[in-house]
Amino acid sequence: METWEIYSLTSVVIFAIGLGGVFLVKHFLRKIIATVIMGGGVFLCFVSFAKRDTLNFPDPVPHALVITGIVVAVTAAAFALSLARRIHKITGEETFEEKE
């Protein structure tokens, strides 16, 4: 198995774990981390295919897109964190669950 094959398959597993986390995990912080993990899976998929298309160097376009993507993902996550903290401060809630 080539390096890129291993990592492209891993990327799917990471994405699925993150997706499961988004649906099944309750706490705000964990949901946010789950989305960041999903993003990590997508980036890994991109970069592993860049490795497959290596000539003298790996395909630089996916690399540039992933660097852009990481920064945007972190900014979005920081915004999500600020929303979560605001919700927590106003209502005291830590999850979206209805209270009995």
Partner: protein, 318 residues
């Protein structure tokens, strides 16, 4: 040997992602996330993407980790004003209370996830070999003004993406200001560090980080590095000083802060329009000045991003 390294890294990442979701305590989740980001950075290096590795370790693991750690202050029980909302650590409690009808959705979503996993694995295995854009990038590299292909793509071939990315950071900052309720919900911020050793250490690290950031910025022309990686290191200076009690960002006047944060994207945009007036294409650098223009744009963008990151941190924690 290679197979062993890659396989172990792959297993470790999947395991850490899994632990991250299932760790019983919130603080464990955050620390596992740190580790996850760093292991991911190792994977980028295995894939030959050193730029991405630096960005991942610095931004996605470091900066994000700092924000998450700080959020723990809000959510962890000892700081919570809402004592009855403490997260229940043992998950057996939650399992025992569920009746059969509540298990059905859980099983259904688990089965759905497995199905998704298999379909996605199949899809990834069957991605057709397109050859990618490496050949194009290599052919145009001499005209781009940068010797490193990733920098050439980031700041020349797809400069438009990078411009919008810097704009997205600005948008994120504005959104955080808007969502944070600037004054109303201010909680007493962390007291500045009293520890003299810590303060001294921060002062020693400041010039080192600055130099290292400048090095990464300059080396980006010919090797892995560049504006974002430099920006995060410079942002780290801001955060460290903030933690040590030097509120440099609050000390600046409001107008100055705005100018610093806007300078990068504004110069980028104006350059784009100036070049459009000259040659008719947005952000089409003339090959003779390309290297020089890229260096100026990168420097200003790095300063702006660093200021924006410091502002996000300073605002979220104050």
């Amino acid at each position: 040997m290679e197979l062993l390294t890659d396989g172990l890294l792959a297993l470790l990442t999947a395991y850490l992602a899994f632990r991250c979701m299932l760790a019983p305590k919130l603080s464990k989740t955050v620390f596992t996330f740190f580790a996850f980001g760093l292991i991911l950075a190792l994977m980028w290096i295995r894939l030959g993407a050193v730029d991405v590795a630096i960005a991942e370790a610095a931004i996605a693991s470091g900066f994000m980790g700092v924000l998450l750690l700080d959020s723990l202050r809000d959510f962890s029980p000892s700081y919570s004003e809402f004592e009855d909302n403490i997260e229940q650590p043992p998950n057996q409690v939650a399992f025992a209370k569920r009746s059969l009808s509540q298990w059905v959705p859980a099983i259904a979503s688990g089965a759905g996830l497995l199905l998704f996993l298999f379909i996605a694995l199949q899809a990834v295995r069957e991605v057709p070999a397109g050859g990618g854009l490496a050949a194009f990038a290599e052919a145009k590299l001499p005209e781009s003004g940068a010797e490193h292909p990733v920098t050439a793509v980031l700041l020349n071939f797809r400069a438009y993406d990078t411009l919008l990315e810097v704009a997205v950071i600005l948008m994120g900052l504005l959104a955080i200001f808007a969502a944070g309720g600037i004054r109303q919900f201010r909680k007493p911020s962390l007291p500045p560090a009293k520890d003299p050793v810590l303060r001294k250490a921060i002062l020693i690290f400041t010039p080192l980080l600055f130099l290292f950031g400048a090095f990464l910025l300059y080396i980006g022309k010919s090797g892995p590095g560049g504006a974002f990686q430099a920006a995060v290191l410079w942002g780290a200076i801001g955060i460290l000083l903030h933690l040590g009690g030097w509120r440099i960002f609050n000390a600046l006047s409001r107008r100055m802060r705005r100018i610093i944060i806007i300078a990068g994207p504004l110069f980028f945009l104006l350059t784009g329009f100036a070049l459009m007036a000259r040659s008719g294409t947005f952000l089409a650098y003339p090959p003779a000045f390309a290297g020089f223009l890229i260096l100026i744009i990168e420097t200003l963008a790095a300063v702006s991003i660093a200021a924006a990151l410091t502002a996000i941190y300073a605002f979220l924690t104050d």
